[in-house]
Symmetry: C2
Subunit: 126 residues, 2 copies
């Protein structure tokens, strides 16, 4: 027996928000902008570290820094609609994204994003 | 029953050459010099690569380069007397060391070192 709510809802994951085409555009632009800024930051830091290398330990410090940042960026920037409110919440919390860039998303999504950002901020302060 | 040859030879690994104190000094200096030159080369290359980074792929190319070189150096520079003729043979083959720097080693060791360098050169040419 199929419940009426499932029949009415074309989204197989009932608890996940549906992203409209215009929301997907906003999301993609905001996501790419934040990623671009973070990569730019890593590039600048790598250039700075490289310019100061004097001995082998500095060299391996640079390698370690790059490996850590690559893993962190890979984990953080996951472009899946099921994860996107958490992704944006984290970016908001880290001040890598401003709410202005998310204008065009539906209020329920903005609420989830703000709520996760607030949770992370309170968690960090605890 | 103990064989006379074992009793006469204080080295438990009969096939391994014994390194005299003066040979150990020569070996250490030659080893450190080659390692220092190789690290210097990697440092210069890393600085050059970093200065040219424009996009994220360049950044991860630098990380990959550093990881590969670190692993290669770790493997190559193994300061164990049981491995040292092979280590020096490889460095000679790679022209990271000249025979002059090994002056003071006994002829049997130099012969092993040259022999392994020759083997690697022939192997590379094959």
């Amino acid at each position: 027996m199929t419940s009426p709510s499932v029949t009415q809802d074309s989204n197989p994951y009932q608890n996940e928000p549906i992203w409209s085409r215009s929301e997907k555009t906003v999301a993609r632009i905001a996501f790419d902008a934040a990623l671009g800024r973070e990569l730019h930051e890593v590039i600048q830091q790598a250039k700075k570290m490289a310019s100061k290398i004097q001995q082998s330990s500095d060299l391996w410090d640079l390698e370690h820094y790059l490996t850590q940042r690559r893993k962190e960026i890979d984990r953080k920037y996951e472009y899946k609609y099921s994860q996107l409110t958490h992704v944006f919440g984290r970016l908001l919390h880290e001040q890598r994204l401003c709410e202005e860039e998310l204008r065009g998303l539906r209020e329920d999504k903005l609420k989830s994003i703000r709520s996760f950002a607030k949770f992370l901020s309170e968690d960090a302060a605890a």
